[in-house]
Amino acid sequence: MFEGIKTGLVPKVIRRLLRSGLAMEMAKAAVKWSSRRENRAFPFWLDFLFDTPKRGFRKGRPVVWISAFTPSEIPYVFDLHPVLPEVIACLAAHIGVSDHAISMAEGNLYSADVCSFYRCGAGLALGGYLPQPDLIISTSHLCDGAHRFFHNMSQHFGCDHYLIDIPYGSDGRARAYLVDELHDVADFIGKRTGRRLDDERAAEVIELSNRTRQVMLQINELRRRIPSPFSGSEGMSYVLGMNFSTVGSQLGLAFFRSLHGVIEERVSRGEGIIEEEKHRLLWLHHIKPYYPNSIFDILEGLGAVVSFEEANQVYWDSMDPKRPLEGLASKMLSNSGCGPIERRIEAILEMAGRYRVNGAIHFSHWGCRQSCGGSHMVRDVMRERGIPTLVLDGDGADIRNYSEGQTRTRLEAFIEMLR
């Protein structure tokens, strides 16, 4: 089927299937059946995955495109249907169609230096594979290319785009500035969709977000155990996808509760993800390669497990349901990727100690200034603390930049260094 997309023979059929409720239900049932051996949290992800395009294309609720670091609570507060192009780009890479989407974007004047997740998202949008947005909201923190991509998409679809400008600092002044902006966002949504900020609904969403946060903290606590009960590869894929997309929803809470149960059972059985855990690693940056690759298999084959990922840290505090915008402003400002590099390094060192890792891999994604810019500073500090760190240059979405042999050599040499 995916070859069909690549060759352009069946794009119309694919677009129709994406819009067809029955087809999506059948596809979901088939994928659920084929992944029946996965843990029981996985079907929640599949529900989210298949329902997103179905509902988006049906236009029951206004569709809002949000960037990965826009709090997912915002669309749930306003009862909007969220679509996260960056997360969908990960999926496109996973099923092997990102190269086609990226080529399509490059053919439409997207430079090859633009982050491949945005090139992929643009290609999918240009091809008509994504639900059309009624409005777009993105933030300025972490992802350098996000606001340009979302601005272009707003031009392409003829809808409005609100860019939330995240201040560099995180003091009271910064918080007040951001709260003001979020009031503007509420007005922006109200004017475009007719949906106003409802205090009761907002409190419900924040309450759900807080409860989900609590479960996520419990999961992260369980992941400190030796042997590692959960794979960093899974942590960086659907768990991160649910983290970005569903916090503040019932589905999100159900997913993380289910995942907690799975990991708790593994811990009680003393079960690790590999038989003999020789090395515990920390995965740094919010990206891993999502196309078929053998990075985690190579590591696990060498007795090394990714015990935790920087991307899944719960960096924010519990929020006051009565003051939702203040809470969300604080959440965004708490991200350790905001502000000076020292803040991020401090958080990484804390995680390295907490998860008792003896090494770290910093995946430096092509086109990502925030990761590539800080990677060597992170590596140097980690090295001083006795935690060897591999800066692994690569690409998260574009398989054309992946070389199995070169990657294997770097990973094997790194693990040899840890011995």
């Binding site: 060597h376 140097d380 090295r383 060897p388 800066v391 240059d393 930049n401 070389s403 042999g405 070169q406 050599t409 770097r410 094997e412 040499a413 040899e416 260094m417």
Partner: protein, 252 residues
């Protein structure tokens, strides 16, 4: 105990046989398209030179990009670890190893015990590798082996700005057409490659002494250019090409 190390690189393969830690023999062989065949022939030649048979080997460690395609290997170790071990064996005081091979270049930091403490490798670009020099030698119609000597005879400085192998080849052809001497162009190429390695080395906290290994270390022009940039004398093994295979044999 007799052990062997075999390094299957993209351009050449090397085998080293050790008896009680001392080199008995070695061989260097072009890898070609069939790495398995090259591995077998390279090892047979080293064994013949030592008057040994395969059965005499207690262990064989394979390294290099083709290490997983050596059917008779008892173990595989990466070329990063092997070059570090090999260089440390030859120069125990060395703290940095620069290995410039056929398809990649590496700068490796090693500690006082000879263990790898950090490393960087070139990215997917071929600049700064043996392949780059091979392509340029082709464009200049000179033998790869004579490039070092020719660069010593250069009189004028020529700056090569492109580091992409394809663009640099065009630039070289343009320089020839503009009447620049081949010796000057070769020196310019060596300076350009060395700058790239120097930049890569800057990502590590480089300590001295520095040892250079790999086939490119046979090119005196590169070694001198790199030495000038690093402001350091570079230690050279008698046969820099076999250091990876030596490290592999030492890992047995």
């Amino acid at each position: 105990m007799i052990v062997a190390g075999i390094d299957i690189g993209s351009l050449s393969s090397e085998a080293v046989i050790l008896k009680e830690g001392e080199i008995m023999s070695y061989s260097i062989f072009p890898t070609g398209a069939d790495t398995r065949k090259a591995a077998g022939m390279c090892m047979r030649e080293a064994l013949e030179r030592a008057h040994l048979k395969f059965e005499d080997l207690a262990a064989t460690v394979a390294t290099g990009y083709g290490r997983i395609n050596v059917p008779f290997a008892t173990k595989t170790v990466t070329e990063i670890t092997c070059h570090a071990r090999g260089a440390y064996r030859l120069f125990p005081s060395t703290r940095t190893v620069i290995d410039m091979g056929g398809q990649d270049s590496k700068v490796i930091s090693i500690d006082a015990e000879g263990r790898v403490s950090d490393f960087v490798m070139n990215d997917k670009c071929a600049a700064g590798t043996g392949r780059f020099l091979e392509v340029m030698a082709g464009a200049l119609e000179v033998d790869l082996e004579e490039m070092g000597e020719r660069s010593a005879r250069a009189r004028n400085g020529v700056v090569i700005s492109s580091m992409c192998t394809v663009f640099a080849e065009s630039e070289v052809i343009s320089l020839i057409a503009a009447g620049c001497s081949k010796n000057d162009i070769i020196r310019g190429l060596h300076e350009a490659i060395s700058k790239r390695i120097f930049t890569m080395a800057g990502k590590l906290r480089m300590e001295r002494p520095i040892t250079m290994t790999g086939g490119v270390a046979k090119n005196r022009g590169i070694v001198d250019a790199l030495g000038r940039l690093l402001k350091s004398r570079i230690q050279l093994p008698e046969e820099p090409q076999i250091v990876g295979a030596l490290g592999a044999a030492l890992s047995a």
